[in-house]
Point group: D2
Chain length 431, copies 4
């Protein structure tokens, strides 16, 4: 999903308990601020590649969203904090006017972190005032858009973490976001295969908040299939590498092979081989540390996920297979709220593990609209639909996805060459 | 399909009447040669962009295919014409060794056209000798690979025409391939909608020769839908343009809009506006001539097809919808054999028109493998499967597709920004 | 001069009064720190283009110079502040080992501004200790290298200002470095021509500190010539623009014209035209303000200077003409020490004005070595000689050149397309 | 000199014997045609890099020159051969209107070689008619411009050879232009040093035809110096390579070192190392053959020439040193007329050898105008002056420079990274 993708409630309007909405608004805002807490101002201003925006920009853009889509149209006395910000902090909404070019976000040393903090406070106060005036059961645009704003901000919480990780990885001093030492030593549970029947099933969103791209709910036709009970591990990835996986053209899609050659990929993003030793270490939010063979592999592209599956004699699941299989599994796991900042080895229990949290799972499904999908009118209609070409669907959430953000029908999407998200894979096969 | 894509027979081996096979081989070879007949040697050597290879290269590469995959392994006394050619004329077969870089095909002024003509004759003689020795009913690798070679060469016949058109379009003198003046003045039949039921249906190849990517035949689940009875016309495209279609961001996919802006697209490829007059003309194989409003629009990208459909309040068909709808329609139409070298207005009759020939039709389907698809082993296994990312499926064939080359299950594929093929669109909608 | 060019004392060793040297060291260090005083940490970390390094990097690199070339070899007990810094803060000294790639300087959010401040203090203490131990009249490597380090740091003071200006110019909010409003309203003195005789004269450095590229002193042969008494003004530049100067190919060098077309130059760097009004404003260290017609034009390339001179029916002076003409003129003027941060209109008096300060003056001389020039051995020998191709000489210093840094023989150099320095021009003609 | 540089007579008009002029015109035209004789049409159409134009283009452009600057203005009844050609075959004359972009010259497969041959015949006839009508002693624009056209065409004769060599070098089959085997086995004469006095001397053109950039003749001041008696040989270059010359940063200019790294230069252009053997061969107009250690090194850049001289403890001569030293030496040598198509080892005799012919010699002088130089008005004034930035002067002519084209004052110029000309070097030192 682009660094500034934002969801639209699909289907009709929702009904909200206003107090609960206000509480969630405050909580989300505070969580975002807390993520930037360990950072110096210097860390928050640089854009290390087009895809990875500065923390400062995320802090401002999420705030701009409430200002632009809620306060300006609905709060009669609202005064914009600074007239420049409408231009500076629009991400990609053509419908919301001209905007600062995305690759130049890192050139904006002003407004400073302190000024953006004041901007956040200004908008928070206005939003609190606005939400206070809603009836107890709000069933209206403001509530719906606030819900959208909260979800939007949660997406940017994840991006703050992944963009920062990319930034820190460019520094030869290997700075760590978290000074905790992650637990290692746990083995992962053995690989096992869970079977599912074929037939006509339904996927797509059913109730509660969801983005527009999760619907309409519709029938899909499945053949019997099996999913691996857990994500592919670093240890399994090392076997792929040891078997020359990055050097065998016949494992790769043509575009993938061209990328491997051009970029000289020999391992997942952030892996480094210690001089002389031959052992790999991986850079992460705890700095540069030894590979944990039991933990899920992370920061791989779709091309790599696809090549691995071919090497293993398996395939990636389709998004329909994934979603049907996830029925009855609570959307909880090792997410941002746990504070681990890294995927962990799969643990105990029967059935599918790690469906939510740890790593996003690349699927075999190109990201296109479901049958009957139409993007809503207006600027918020630019949220998802216009990205429906050239990208692949990922499912399930990662270790830096905020608690409560994902669900079974949630569709994330990235280009097949992109690696800076916490993305891994789960194998599938025909039954 | 890449300029050198080649099909693989899918499923088991086929049974061939040898004499018929030899006749078709000779005929195909002669057709290729005839296409280059109107060209000067100078026209056959230049590569105007990475995607568009020189005629000379196509003439040699199609010959190399028989030499490499048939004569060298199966004809015991065969002497390669020139040892350099294995390197020079391999297109993309990693399994067939190193090759001359694709963007450098236009640097090879030697071998000359005359030398390649001698190469063709050399291989033709050897192939004739080999086919003569086959039993009357050949059911073997040689026949299967010869069939593949014939189909492969037919694909390159189409590419000779589209690559040459692109080359000539770069010349301010607007040279014409054909000196005939195309007929114009016919109106197209009115737009009509043909309805199809939903339900579980089957798509994929059934019998006879097909490429690997056309199978396995499998169930698909359709919702009731309608297809337009004919392709979108130039006249309809002019309405889209007059309505500001190239300037309205909300009609476009995000990647498409970026391409429109970057490339400054304002009309289909090859359209030029006469100075001062405001009227558009289009460059084609007959040179630069007035737009025929009744003829199908040609040389548009997927992005443009998708934007047009959105503007029209419709959508593109999926490839399954297209294939199911084509049942019972003979795969014949305005193809290379007619010598028109341009799409023509849809004429008379009930039901779907122009399903085969005239223009390839962009579908809404990303090009991925069918359920259960596995690429064959070895170099010929690189034919289709490795291209299954980032491209979109087109169906039906064009005015420069050789007679008899396509069928209902035929899947062509190109990247969504590519425009140098004779590609247009047909609209669809939910019933 | 590259953003990290550094001079070498030319000729033999110099004799220094140690106390004076120590005082100048402390003063220079304090001046650098003072320049960064008005900046937020955010302003000090970003690299807006390859040529313009972050303030933070300049603060560290100037410090690294003393550490690498003086403290490490000569101070027996010296402990490097951080072992990473040798790699991070080397600019281009191949002889000093591997270094962080120049275009990636802006990715280093760590060390922070505060940490670099501590680094500066650490090196300052060690340098103070070392200088204290020198004999009263130091005539040795340490003194010579300290002198070099001071001059090196002065160059980076200028670069801090020009790089920051470029960075701020990328921000649509047009932040100002200085909140003072510059004086305007003074007229410039009228243009006048000062004559000089031809004959054999000498140029090159004579006594005191100088960079290696300023020698050897040598004979030059001049024809009689005239120099303008002052720099070309903004007002004169507006006439050039009004006369279509940026649109007449025959005024331009071929490479210059290609640059004008490619970059769409229509005015000096930093000039903006106010919407609708037709009046130009210029961005500078005081923000975006009205053009002062009497002040020297600034931020032009060599190509523009050369085209202007041709338009005016004049030419640029050679560096020899400039140097000979400057004899007897004290190297003082509107420099960094004045705190104006902008060139000012030429004022009163006879003879040549503005020879030092205000703007660097492009000459007609390519930057090559003087007859007999040889670069010194070792890493400091990389200071100047290796840049002797493709660049043009500028003379005289600018409004952000530190007091006392330049002299008559001083040779600055930049590529002919570069515009981010405070560069202008003075006209010349044959007598 | 750019592939289409053209000279302007400097100084006043010249007096010509018309019959002699007409003879030289015919001879030059015939020589050009003869150069293309061994080529297939395919060889004449491709542009392998921006700098290297197709033979066909050279054949047409030299013809366009007479048509545009002589026939159209001066021959009242002249009918242009084809109205498109004014656009297609203008090289860089802004004053002669819009032109086909230089990097796209290789896209023009039409007009064909045969059509351009007809174009040449058409213009030759018209020129013959025009010259016939001149008085016996022509002292007029037509004669002057014809002289210019002849010299212009001679330059393109050289470019036909160097551009073709580059084209053929891109073909893995290593085609040869000439089927002769070049003589080898001669030793070069030993290196010797020839001394010259210092003092005030004169350089620049004196009498007869010359380009505008060769004047005005003017005083220069020289210090005593020595020149090597011959060009640097391949054998000496191998010593430089064996000593790690391409790997020692301190031998190189900064821009040169960056080029070495980026382009991975390890030897002169066209050198290839035979697999396994360690011996170098060089591609040339005779194909790929063994290096002749006694022959002058060819196809090196200025950066390489400069690095070699530094390695050798010497320097390159200035153009003034070269020109003064050449006094009294006839401008003859191993040039295009000899048909050797390769530089040969220096042979016998005292004093300077190989000053003319064999290889162009890079000098230490940037290409700028002489004191008092002004480019003439109008389109022919674009001949030389506008290229006076960023390039270096070469002197003396090469083995593919036409007989009689060069003289002592002749100034050739190329960018310091360019290698596709027959360029080598001669060493110099201070006396």
């Amino acid at each position: 999903m682009p660094d500034d993708a934002q969801p639209l409630p699909q289907g009709g309007s929702l009904s909200y308990a206003t107090a609960e909405l206000a509480r969630r608004f405050r909580q989300t805002r505070a969580q975002t601020t807390a993520l930037a807490e360990p950072l110096a101002p210097e860390d928050q201003v640089v854009q290390p590649m087009d895809d990875a925006s500065p923390t400062k920009w995320h802090l401002a853009h999420t705030t701009w969203f409430y200002e632009t889509f809620i306060l300006t149209p609905f709060a009669p006395d609202y005064e914009p904090f600074d007239p420049h910000y409408a231009y500076l902090f629009n991400s990609y909404y053509e419908g919301a006017g001209e905007r600062h070019p995305r690759p130049h976000r890192g050139l904006l040393t002003r407004p400073t972190v302190a000024e953006i903090s004041a901007y956040r406070a200004h908008v928070d106060r206005a939003m609190a005032g606005l939400l206070e005036k809603l009836p107890e059961q709000a069933n209206a645009d403001i509530a719906t858009l606030t819900e959208l704003g909260i979800n939007h901000e949660q997406q940017h919480q994840e991006l703050i973490m992944t963009d920062l990780l990319y930034l820190f990885s460019c520094n030869p001093m290997s700075p760590a976001y978290s000074s905790d030492t992650p637990d290692t030593g746990d083995a992962a549970i053995p690989l096992d295969w869970i079977s599912f029947d074929g037939g006509i099933r339904q996927i797509g969103h059913q109730a509660g908040f969801a983005y527009d791209n999760e619907g309409p709910r519709h029938d899909v036709l499945l053949q019997p299939y099996r999913l691996a009970n857990r994500a592919v591990t670093n240890g399994e990835w090392l076997e792929f590498m040891a078997d020359g996986g990055y050097g065998q053209h016949d494992l790769w899609l043509s575009d993938g092979w061209a990328t491997v050659q051009r970029e000289n990929w020999q391992a997942p993003l952030y892996w480094q081989r210690a001089e002389g030793e031959g052992a790999w270490r991986a850079f992460g939010l705890h700095g540069l540390i030894d590979i944990d063979p039991a933990a899920p592999v992370r920061h791989i592209s779709y091309y790599e996920a696809d090549a691995f599956a071919r090497w293993a004699g398996k395939r990636l699941p389709t998004e329909a297979e994934w979603e049907v299989a996830s029925e009855g599994i609570a959307p909880e796991g090792n997410s941002l709220g746990t504070g681990t900042f890294a995927p962990k080895p799969a643990q105990g229990g029967e059935g599918l593990r790690q469906m939510f949290g740890d790593v996003w799972e690349w699927t075999a499904s190109p990201y296109v609209g479901y049958p009957g999908f139409r993007a809503p009118e207006g600027a918020v209609g630019e949220y998802n639909g216009k990205f429906m070409s050239g990208q692949m669907v990922l499912r399930g959430g990662s270790c830096v996805t905020p608690e409560g953000h994902v669900r079974a029908s949630y569709r994330n999407f990235f280009y097949p060459h992109q690696r800076w998200q916490f993305a891994g894979l789960r194998l599938a096969e025909d039954a």
